[in-house]
C-alpha cells in the first residue's frame, strides 16, 4: 500500500503509535512523530512511497517529538521539535515549524553514518536512457536546484543529496526522496513547474528558507532500478554567466569526487577501487550556469562516454 492511500487520521495515529515503516528504496525508514503538522507534510511529500506492512525490520529509526521542557511548558509555549535516532540526538532542538527539515536531515544523517556498504558521495543524481548523471557539489553550488529542474523535465530522479555507489558493480542505487530547495530556488522551481508538490517554506533555518519538493511519481515507482554512471558534472551557479561546460581531466575529477565523498577515506582500498572504476567509465565536466533552460539543453545533449 502507498502512504497516500492511508487516510489522514490513520496516518497520524500510526505515526504517533509505534511509527510507520516507509520503504524509500535502499532503506526502510521507521518514522515516528506526534506532531500533526508534520504528518500532513509527510503525506504530501511521501504519498507515492510504499508503506512497509511487512516484517517489522527497518534500517533507520527516526522519531521527531516535542520535548516537554521545564515544567512541561514547552508543550504550550514556543513548542520545539527534537529528533531522536534511537539514542542519538544529532541536532539541537529547533522551533516546531522546522520539524520537517529536521526529519529530512535526520534521515540523511542516518545514511551518512550507517550505510558503509555503499561508497557515498554528496551529490545529486539523475538518470536518462539508463545512464546516471552525477552532480557532486558543496551546498550553494546549486545542485539541488539543478536536480529539481531536471527531475521535473524528463530526467529520472535518483537523489538530490546522495550518490549511493555499489562497490560490487559500480552501479548507483536510486534514493528518490524529497528535494531540499533553499531560498530563491523555491520561487524559481514554483515558476518552473507550477503544479509541483512543495511543502510549506520554513524560514530562518541554518540554511535559510527551506522547502521540500515531492519526488516525481515515476521516479518513486522505479527505486529498484539502478544505473551505471556516465557523466560526472561539477555544477557552479553564477548569476548572469553564459553557460559553459568544460572537460575535466580524470585525475583531477577523481580528487574532486573523493573530496565530496562521505566515506571515501574510511573505506580504504574499497573506496579507491570503486571511485577509480567510476572515473574510468565516465566523462567529467565542470559546468557554470545561470539558467535552468540552458542547463537542461546542455546536459541533455551530453554524449555517452
Amino acid at each position: 500500500m502507498k502512504l497516500g492511500a492511508l487516510s489522514a487520521s490513520e496516518l497520524t495515529v500510526r505515526l504517533a503509535r509505534g511509527g510507520l515503516d516507509v520503504d524509500t528504496g535502499p532503506f526502510v525508514v521507521r518514522v515516528e512523530t506526534e506532531i500533526p503538522a508534520l504528518a500532513e507534510e509527510l503525506r504530501l511529500l511521501y504519498q507515492d512511497f510504499p508503506v512497509d506492512e511487512g516484517d517489522g525490520l527497518a534500517d533507520f529509526h527516526v522519531s521527531v517529538r516535542r520535548p516537554a521542557g521545564p515544567l512541561g511548558l514547552r508543550r504550550w509555549w514556543r513548542q520545539q521539535a527534537m529528533a531522536y535516532l534511537d539514542d542519538v540526538r544529532p541536532f539541537e532542538p529547533l522551533p516546531i515549524a522546522m520539524a520537517l527539515p529536521m526529519l529530512e536531515w535526520s534521515i540523511n544523517w542516518c545514511a551518512a553514518t550507517q550505510a558503509n556498504h555503499y561508497v557515498m558521495i554528496h551529490a545529486a543524481v539523475l538518470e536518462r536512457d539508463g545512464r546516471a548523471l552525477v552532480l557532486p557539489g558543496v551546498t550553494g553550488a546549486g545542485k539541488s536546484t539543478l536536480c529539481a529542474g531536471l527531475a521535473l523535465r524528463g530526467w529520472r530522479l535518483f537523489s538530490d543529496e546522495f550518490a549511493l555507489i555499489r562497490p560490487a558493480d559500480g552501479q548507483v542505487d536510486p534514493w528518490p526522496r524529497p528535494i531540499s530547495l533553499k531560498n530563491a530556488s523555491i520561487e524559481l522551481i514554483r515558476r518552473w513547474a507550477p503544479d509541483a508538490g512543495l511543502s510549506t517554506p520554513v524560514p530562518n533555518t541554518n540554511k535559510g528558507t527551506v522547502a521540500h519538493l515531492r519526488p516525481p511519481v515515476g521516479s518513486v515507482a522505479r527505486t529498484g532500478e539502478p544505473a551505471m554512471p556516465a557523466w560526472i558534472v561539477f555544477p557552479a551557479f553564477a548569476r548572469d554567466a553564459a553557460p559553459r561546460l568544460t572537460r575535466l581531466p580524470r585525475a583531477r575529477a577523481f580528487f574532486k569526487l573523493a573530496d565530496c565523498s562521505f566515506n571515501y577515506e574510511s573505506l580504504g582500498l574499497r573506496g579507491f577501487t570503486t571511485l577509480s572504476r567510476m572515473i574510468d567509465g565516465c566523462d567529467a565536466y565542470e559546468f557554470t550556469y545561470s539558467s535552468l533552460e540552458d542547463a537542461l539543453s546542455l546536459l541533455g545533449a551530453l554524449p555517452l562516454p
Binding site: D55, G56, L57, D86, D87, Q114, H117, S266, L267, R270
Partner: protein
C-alpha cells in the same frame, strides 16, 4: 527492552540464524547502542549464518564488518603517527608519570589539541586522574587518551603501574608493546567496575568475555591471572567482573582464578546488592529509553564509582564544585 536475544546472540552466535526480522530490528539497534555491532557481525560471519539472515540484515552486518576493518586500519595508522611524533624526541610510547609532560609536549607539537578546560577540570585531570586531558587531532578526527595507570591515583585501590610496564608484551616485532594477557583482563575488569559509563557495561562485559575465551585456554593462565590481580591490588573488581561475565555470558573461568578471587569476595549482603544493581544496569538500551530501574541502578553505580575513586574529603569538594553548577567534565 528485551535483552535475552542480545545475550543469546553473543553466547550462541548460531542462534542468529533463526531470528525473525522484527527481532533483528531490535538486535541491530541494541548492538549499535552498546557498541557491539561489529562483534555481532563477526560472530554471525564466524558461525556461518550470514547466508541465512534476511538480505537487508546481511547488508547491515557486512557494513558493520567494513567498519571494524576501518577501525583496525585507523588504529594501525595512528600508531604509526604516534611513533613518528614521539620518535623524533626519543620518547618511548609507554613511560612513567613523571615524564608525561614530555609526551604531552611532543604530541602538541605534532598538531594534537587539548580541549579547553576550566581551571578546575584541568586540575582534576592533572592531579586526581590517571590520564591526561583528552587529546583530539583536528584533521584526522581521532581522540587520544594518554594513561599513566589503569585506575586513578586518588582511589582506594592502587595498582603499581611499573608492574604493568614490566609485563608488557611485544605485539608487532618492531618494539611496540601492549599489556600482557592477564593485565588486559585486569584492565578490562577495572574499566567495567570503575568507569562512569554504565550504559556501555554490556559491551565491556562482552569484551571481558572475549578476552577470557581467547586467553583462558592457555595452561597456567588461571594462576597467572590470580597472581596479577593480587600483585596489582585489584582482586575485588576482578571478582565482580568475572562473576557478572559468567552470569550473563557463561564466560569460562579457570579454577585457579575462581579460588583466588573468591578470597576477595565482599560480604554476602554487599554481593547480593551488587548483583541486583548490575543486573538492572546492563540493559542493552534502545529502541526505548532504559527503564527507570536501569537508570536508577546506573546512578547508584556511578555514585559508587566516585566513592571508590576519591577519598571522602576530595569527593565532597568535587561534588560541591560540580553541583555548584559550573559546566565541565570529569
Amino acid at each position: 527492552m528485551d535483552r535475552a536475544v542480545f545475550l543469546r546472540a553473543l553466547r550462541e552466535p548460531a542462534s542468529m540464524g533463526g531470528l525473525a526480522p522484527a527481532e533483528w530490528d531490535v538486535l541491530l539497534r541494541q548492538g549499535r547502542h552498546v557498541g557491539a555491532l561489529g562483534r555481532l557481525a563477526a560472530l554471525a560471519a564466524g558461525a556461518g549464518v550470514l547466508p541465512a539472515v534476511p538480505s537487508r540484515v546481511r547488508v547491515r552486518l557486512e557494513a558493520a564488518l567494513e567498519d571494524v576493518e576501518q577501525q583496525h586500519r585507523l588504529i594501525r595508522w595512528e600508531v604509526i603517527r604516534l611513533r613518528r611524533a614521539l620518535a623524533g624526541t626519543g620518547l618511548p610510547l609507554v613511560l612513567p608519570r613523571a615524564r608525561l609532560h614530555e609526551v604531552e609536549a611532543a604530541l602538541l607539537r605534532e598538531g594534537w589539541k587539548m580541549e579547553a578546560l576550566s581551571a578546575y577540570d584541568e586540575r582534576y585531570y592533572r592531579e586526581w586522574s590517571h590520564e591526561l586531558p583528552p587529546l583530539a587531532h583536528p584533521k584526522r578526527h581521532v581522540m587520544l587518551d594518554v594513561h599513566h595507570n589503569i585506575l586513578p591515583p586518588t582511589g582506594r585501590l592502587r595498582p603499581d603501574p611499573r608492574l604493568l610496564l614490566e609485563a608488557a608484551v611485544p605485539v608487532t616485532g618492531d618494539g611496540l608493546r601492549v599489556l600482557g594477557p592477564a593485565d588486559m583482563v585486569v584492565h578490562s575488569a577495572c574499566h567495567l567496575l570503575q568507569s562512569g559509563e554504565h550504559d556501555k557495561s554490556l559491551r565491556d562485559l562482552g569484551d571481558l568475555d572475549a578476552l577470557m575465551r581467547q586467553f583462558g585456554a592457555a595452561p597456567r593462565f588461571g594462576d597467572e591471572l590470580a597472581a596479577r590481580a593480587a600483585a596489582l591490588d585489584v582482586e575485588r573488581p576482578l571478582f565482580y567482573a568475572l562473576r557478572f561475565a559468567a552470569r550473563l555470558f557463561g564466560t569460562p573461568i579457570p579454577d585457579a582464578t575462581v579460588r583466588a578471587v573468591r578470597r576477595a569476595a565482599p560480604p554476602a549482603l554487599v554481593r547480593a546488592a551488587m548483583d541486583g544493581l548490575f543486573d538492572a544496569a546492563v540493559e542493552p538500551g534502545p529502541p526505548r529509553d532504559p527503564p527507570r530501574r536501569a537508570r536508577l541502578a546506573r546512578a547508584v553505580l556511578t555514585a559508587r564509582y566516585h566513592w571508590l575513586r576519591m577519598p571522602p574529603s576530595l569527593l565532597a569538594r568535587h561534588l560541591a564544585h560540580k553541583i555548584g553548577g559550573r559546566k565541565g567534565r570529569g
